[in-house]
């Protein structure tokens, strides 16, 4: 089948694309196929560019204007030549289109047995929710297992990009998008956000951690009940660092998108509508679940809700953590 040509050729060519300095590491077999097509197009492009460049430069030198020598008068069109240079590029682009399309479909359709992980993009962090309810700032996956990500956004459009897997998909609020991959070696790979999303866009990265056989399940049970094992304030700090709080709230009193957490608990704050209130457990709980209800004066109502994303015991430990941030 023509379909399998890239895979077959990619395995035959000894110099793998991952050795090329212009492409990142090949984390998956699919990445190898993309690279095969990339290098095919590169070869075609280099050939045609060289053809045009050599002819142009040759003509410039050979036919440069000289005293007393007039331009020749070759025919001003040549039907067969023109048909040839229309038909050849047409055939070439059809070939490129075909491999581009089939390669894309392979990377698009996930196998039935894929492990599903939920992904949420928000300004400016990725959150990965695992089947046991654990939420993590990094993507942990087992080796040699198809993984399907079901992704959505809390706020604006983000772009989920793993260069080593040659996979990318926009993460759009109000709808789900998916990508899938199957990683063949344990290791670590970077995740970027590729759809511009504001101040922290370029810092919105995470890691894919590929666990050796058996390790993924071990990791998952270990982190699953982490919150109940740690002292409350420490568990709260962990959530602060990993669940998207630190992107907008500093703990050193510095300015950011939201008010600093330093000395916040027990502080008297003026709200946008002029009302004054003291920050206590109930206000913090409300600010997490319904962030737009009461906005501190001087800030924009931009925080996404954490309703359904943080459990009650998680909100409790976050409050405990905030209590420790005294001036």
């Amino acid at each position: 089948m023509i379909h399998s040509i890239p895979a077959v050729l990619a395995s035959l060519v000894p110099l793998r694309a991952s050795n090329a300095f212009w492409l990142p590491e090949e984390g998956t077999a699919a990445a190898g196929q993309v690279d095969w097509l990339f290098n095919l197009i590169l070869g075609i492009s280099v050939f045609f560019f060289a053809l045009i460049a050599v002819l142009t430069i040759y003509f410039l030198l050979r036919y440069r204007r000289r005293q007393g020598i007039e331009a020749g008068q070759p025919p001003t069109h040549h039907t067969w030549l023109e048909i040839t240079w229309t038909v050849i590029p047409t055939i070439i682009v059809i070939v490129i289109f075909y491999f581009g399309f089939t390669g894309y479909m392979d990377m698009k359709i996930a196998p039935e047995n894929a492990l599903e992980i939920q992904v949420t993009g928000q300004k400016w962090q990725w959150l990965f929710s695992y089947p046991n309810g654990h939420v993590d700032p990094d993507l942990h996956v087992p080796v040699d297992q198809p993984v399907k990500l079901i992704m959505t956004s809390e706020d604006v459009i983000h772009g989920f990009f793993i260069p080593d897997f040659r996979q990318k998909m926009d993460v759009v609020p109000g709808r789900y998008s998916t990508v899938w991959f199957n990683v063949s070696r344990p290791g670590k790979h970077i995740i970027f956000c590729t759809q511009y999303c504001g101040r922290g866009h370029s810092d919105m990265s995470a890691w894919v951690v590929v666990h050796p056989p058996g390790e993924y399940e071990k990791w998952l049970t270990e982190v699953g009940d982490e919150i109940s094992k740690l002292p409350p304030a420490e568990a709260g700090e962990k959530l602060y660092l990993t669940r998207g709080c630190k992107q907008c709230h500093t703990i050193d009193g510095g300015a950011s998108t939201g008010p600093s957490f330093l000395g916040m608990f027990g502080r008297s704050e003026t709200m946008k509508d002029g009302a004054k209130l003291t920050v206590d457990e109930n206000y913090i709980r409300e600010a997490i679940i319904d962030p737009q209800a009461k906005i501190v004066a001087g800030y924009q109502p931009v925080m996404p809700t954490y309703k359904g994303k943080l459990k009650d015991n998680e909100i409790t430990v976050i409050i405990e953590y905030l209590k420790t941030l005294k001036r």
Binding site: W22, L23, P24, V34, L37, F38, I41, L42, I44, S45, F48, F49, I52, A53, L55, T56, F59, R64, R66, E70, A71, G72, Q73, T76, H77, L81, E82, W85, T86, P89, V93, I96, F97, G100, F101, T102, G103, Y104, M107, K108, V156, I157, G159, F161, P163, R166, Q167, K168, M169, D170, V172, P173, T194, Y196, C197, G198, R199, H201, S202, Q300
Partner: protein, 560 residues
């Protein structure tokens, strides 16, 4: 001397200092309220060069910030505004109006041997709208500027707190300016062609402007409506694109690219037209494959409406739509390739002179070649998924728009400069500057291709340290280009007062604009000349006494 001026070139026979359009009226009002297409062309030229300077300044700020992986000179919020303004100013205020409104306005009626465009008042209104649109952009700039990127993607653009509305409204007004120019050109080309100029005797620059005008008139209204909807959502809170209000953010992308993809052909088609004129003139050869070039302009204009979805391969668009848009995208590659082959073939057996316009022409052919070929990586679905929204796209876009459109604009500017201002510039400095620009350009953007295929995403303020050396090369190239452009500004401004007086036809072109004086009188031609083959350069011979070309005595009859 056995050469005399042809009877078909009455203006050339007139004394050099016959009252030109530049002397016809003094004071600011005689310029900003003028109805003369040539003066409007000059006003556009000054405006777009100012926009280019501003956009270039922002480009330098971007490149300076990216010298180091973290903060170099500005905060992230400032950087986001700077790259937005760089894109918006360069696209809406420089590249879109660049060749059609500035060079086209000046040259189009002259190429037709006409007195003016069909609707001079509409033409003036176009420029006034351009200025009003530009003022809105500057207003946004003063009020902190927008931070959305030039693409204004929702829901970011409807929820950010920066000054989005004024700049979007500015782009909305600029759209009308563009529509009116396109309308004017269509009617002028239909109605004002001189005797002897059938459709297939039209200079290819006019074919290109005609194809461009059709896109301007048909596609720009879609942008206008889209931008208006964006303002409606932001100001009135009507849910159109923002999902929290019940809208669909991807709908905006469809609307936006339905205009903005054809818009890249609004930019590149006139550039291709300029190149067709230049490659023939400076090779002293008839253009090769005239009809193929003319038809390919029309084919590109038509196909440009059908490929917008290739900007959205990873947006969540269905795989079926992706497959169709990928296939249609490749179809645009063919007419573009045909043009390149025709230009190269035109040089065959020519008598090629590497004056500045030809240097830019060669730069265009090679750089646009790279721009077009790298488009193949982006048109193919599997590779696009990896390259989308990386520096590869940034580099591809700049190779087509800067390596393509800007090089053609520079070529056209140097080519028609003597006609517009009646003065020659310093040829040696022009060649040095063009070399600096071309070398600097390649250093800037070749490194971006590599970064992009390695996975460096675009619009990044901080970046991973492994990309640092590529960014530094890119910045060094950008500085070299800046020096080149400053040099261009210096010798062009110098030429306005000190340049050698230009002959009517310094390069030996056969199109009609070279038959009137340089600079032309207000009425262009005493009577509309009869057009011949615009690429029959054989009867033109160099006259050292004039410092330019003139018609051979014996062939005068044949030309008329």
């Amino acid at each position: 001397m056995n050469t005399v001026s042809s009877p078909a070139t009455p203006a050339a026979a007139e004394p050099e200092h016959a009252a030109s359009y530049l002397q016809d009226g003094h004071g600011i009002k005689s310029w900003i309220m003028t109805l003369d297409h040539k003066r409007i062309g000059v006003l556009y030229l000054i405006s777009i060069l100012a926009a280019m300077f501003l956009g270039g300044l922002f480009a330098m700020l971007i490149r300076t910030e990216l010298l180091t992986p973290t903060k170099t000179v500005m905060e992230a919020e400032t950087y986001n505004r700077v790259f937005t303004l760089h894109g918006a100013i360069m696209i809406f205020l420089f590249i879109i109006p660049g060749i059609p409104a500035a060079l086209g306005n000046f040259v189009l009626p002259l190429m037709l041997g006409a007195r003016d465009v069909a609707f001079p008042r509409l033409n003036r209104l176009s420029w006034h709208l351009y200025v009003i649109g530009a003022l809105f952009a500057i207003y946004s700039l003063i009020h902190g500027g927008a931070d959305t990127g030039w693409t204004f993607y929702t829901p970011y653009s409807t929820t950010t707190t920066s000054a989005v509305v004024p700049i979007v409204f500015g782009a909305f007004i600029l759209g009308f300016s563009s529509i009116l120019t396109g309308l004017n050109f269509i009617v002028t080309i239909h109605r004002f062609r001189p005797p002897g100029m059938g459709w297939f005797r039209m200079p290819l620059f006019l074919w290109a402007l005609y194809a461009t005008a059709i896109i301007q008139v048909l596609a720009t209204p879609v942008l206008g409506i889209t931008l208006l909807l964006l303002i409606v959502e932001r100001v009135l809170g009507v849910g159109i694109f923002d999902p929290t209000l019940g809208g669909d953010p991807v709908l905006f992308q469809h609307f936006f690219w339905f205009y903005s993809h054809p818009a890249v052909y609004i930019m590149i088609l006139p550039a291709m037209g300029v190149i067709s004129e230049l490659v023939s003139t400076f090779s002293r050869k008839h253009i090769f494959g005239y009809k193929a070039i003319a038809y390919s302009s029309v084919a590109i204009a038509f196909l440009s409406f059908l490929v917008w979805g290739h900007h959205m391969f990873v947006s969540g668009q269905s795989p079926m739509a992706n497959m169709i848009f990928s296939a249609l995208t490749f179809s645009v590659a063919i007419p573009s390739a045909v043009k390149v082959f025709n230009w190269v073939a035109t040089m065959y057996k020519g008598s090629i002179k590497m004056d500045a316009p030809m240097t830019y022409t060669v730069a265009f052919i090679l750089l646009f070649g790279i721009g077009g070929l790298t488009g193949l990586f982006l048109g193919a679905l599997a590779t696009d998924v990896h390259l989308h929204d990386t520096y590869f796209v940034v580099a591809h876009f700049h190779y087509t728009m800067m390596g393509g459109v800007l090089m053609a604009f520079m070529g056209g500017l140097h080519y028609w400069w003597p006609k517009i201002f009646g003065r020659m510039y310093n040829e040696k400095l022009a060649n040095i500057a063009s070399l600096m620009i071309v070398v600097g350009f390649n250093i800037t953007f070749l490194s971006q291709f590599i970064m992009g295929s390695l996975g460096m995403p675009r619009r990044y303020y901080n970046y991973r340290p492994e990309f640092e050396s590529y960014h530094q090369w890119s910045t060094a190239g950008a500085y070299l280009q800046a020096i080149g452009f400053i040099l261009v500004a210096v010798y062009l401004i110098h030429s306005l007062r000190r340049g050698r007086l230009a002959p009517a036809n310094p390069w030996g072109s056969a199109t009609l604009e070279w038959r009137c004086a340089s600079p032309p009188p207000t009425e262009n031609f005493a009577q509309q000349p009869t057009a011949g083959d615009p690429y029959d350069l054989k009867p033109l011979v160099f006259d050292p006494k004039l410092g330019g070309f003139t018609y051979r005595a014996e062939s005068a009859e044949g030309v008329a």
